[in-house]
Amino acid sequence: MKALDGVDFRLLPGEVHALMGENGAGKSTLIKVLTGVYDIDAGEIELEGRQVAFSSPLAAQQAGISTVYQEVNLCPNLSVAENIFIGREPRRLGRIRWKEMRRRAAELLGRLDLDIDVAAPLSAYSLAVQQMVAIARAVDIDARVLILDEPTSSLDASEVAQLFRVMRRLKEQGIAILFVSHFLDQIYEIADRMTILRNGRLVGEHLTSELSQVDLVGKMIGRELADLERLEGRPPAREGARLVEADGLGRTGAIEPFTLTIHQGEVVGLAGLLGSGRTEIARLLFGADHAGTGTLRIDGEPVNLRSPRAAIHRKFAFCSENRREEGLVPDLTVRENIVLALQAARGWTRPIPRRRQDELVGKYITALNIRPAAPELPVRNLSGGNQQKVLLARWLILEPRLLILDEPTRGIDVGAKAEIQRLVAELSDGGMAVLFISAELEEVLRLSHKVAVLRDRRLVAEVENDERLTTDALTETIASGGAS
């Protein structure tokens, strides 16, 4: 299989260069080839006019290339400070100076507006925080080239703004930045030039100012995407029966007691900043964590969800934000990953017949445009966005009554994103309730009937999504903590 085929590509000092392409186009592969993770079969790399060949990421780093790879690639067992500084710890006489390291780490994160305990292990933080840590590490490395592969996939607007401020500063210092993102707005805000890939081939190189968004999308997916913005206003939800009623549900240290009702056929969006507790709500409703206080009613009956299994039994589904740690089983094939939850629900004594599996899997590979469309490929060999689609497919085939989506469009390209949004809208029209979490407020607004706003691990407001609600208003609500 060829992931990249004769791609020419150049990166100039002092520019932000966007690498564009659909899921599986070869962006991450190109980056890994550039930084010595994979070997090159043909072609050459020149750095400042000199031909180089990196045997390992270490060599690339030493040559002045600093990289944030697509999935968060840090060590969860080490502290935040160490994750930022490991390999280049401040030392005196060979002895690591821990105090100094923590101080500098806190300072560095402070510049990104992140105020966390840098001595705590990285695993204590949500994925978004981990992504920020990875960025902090990369920008602190004294490099001439900075490569960021989808660093913003689970960041919200204010973090992205912080990141962009840092990127502009680095750019002024003459550093070349390679940036990958599926958020077109971000690209147009920051990038000077872009290179577009499709199916591992070079499509073209353009100045951002000379290419319209529509043209860009056209070049990326190879056809016009007319109905990208088709999903405009949401029809008001028909009054469905109450499916989930959380009353004073809470968990110490994670989320304050909250009250939330979800009706059948309703899409409820959760909005809030990093670590505001959105994921925690989702986990409580799914039985992944145990609630310390409060009651949960499903169909009016009080229940105690002891495990995800119990929730799945009630036809709840939860698509985690952290696909690598909590979602996929990398060794298993695409097919196995997709049917996993369904099979688990049926129990191991009732295998899903192979024909039925192929049918289901085939259907969702087409529906979500998973590429390559090879059900027997280990899922680890898929590109990030396609992995996300596989995870989504796993929950969709369950035909759940409540679908909890935590950052479901993380790393998914524009075309597929529209597809998924349309799917969600369709399903909710069919009576499925959806709890929708996304860092992208537009998306939340576009889909949900109702938005619950969180701040500092408290549910502070619940807003009906009518014509008047805008992202700005929502941002305002988040910032003011629901006081307005």
Binding site: V37, P57, L58, Q62, N73, N77, I86, G87, E89, I96
Partner: protein, 325 residues
Amino acid sequence: MTIATVLGSSPVPRKYVPVLVTAALFAAMFVVGGIRYEGLATGQVILNVFIDNAFLLVVAVGMTFVILTGGIDLSVGSVVALSTMVAATLLKQGWSPWAVMVLVVLIGSVLGLGMGAIIHYFEIQPFIVTLAGMFLARGLCYTIGTASIPIDDPTFTAFAQTQINFGDMWISPSVVIAVVVVAVAAYALHYTRLGRNVYATGGNEQSALLMGLPVARTKIAVYTISGFCSALGGLLLSFYMLSGYGLHAVGMELDAIAAVVIGGTLLTGGTGYLLGTVLGVLVLGLIQTIISFDGTLSSWWTRIVIGLLLFVFILMQRLITARRR
């Protein structure tokens, strides 16, 4: 004593809780044993545990490095035996004891280096490579000779029989060596880049590689360290036994792994402390001491009771740490 210093320093972060629980349980076991068996609760008994397990301690230190990277080293017991065998044979041929010591340690390190290189460059699971290493080292022992070879070199005998007294208690020079090894290793793990790379590699090897850490060097280094420690442990064992024998230290790899794991280090790598390993060794040693103080157990009851004590210990450790979380 080591425990006290940790307890003394500022508020205890949560990551140290398992080690502290282990320490407390060890103390409790000692006290209960002391009440139950007359003469057990003396300082010398604790020192005896050190004297009798100095070699295991050193071997377990090496094993800790390996396990922290998520690997395993099954060859340690055999390398210990090989070291005693090489030392005894060469001493018998009239080599200088110091030269022998250097050579033995060199052999162990080179064996470790070789295994580490194979594991890393050929991407073979550590379990098999070190199992082959185990066969190799033990096989070399038998090729040297199947009988036990006495050591009567004066330097070795001095190491074996010197008693370092304080008050009416004493320790052997081996204990001093072991404690130094522990101290150096603990320093290396906590305060040097190598040490932190060990933890990073164990946490997530792929990530460590992408973060630009020298994973290859680290992995090879830990097996070399383990080989070095095994050889040094072998020397301490030759002091202890004053003999070289191909059947020495059979199954010691399991003791070492058990000590490391009892000390709270995760076999999957990335989490654990050297102090835990020390406690693990002490726990195993104390269990043995209790058994021999009891003195009424028949052979099979000995094993059953060892298993039971181990079970109770691990269960308590697990339950207490789980509740603290």
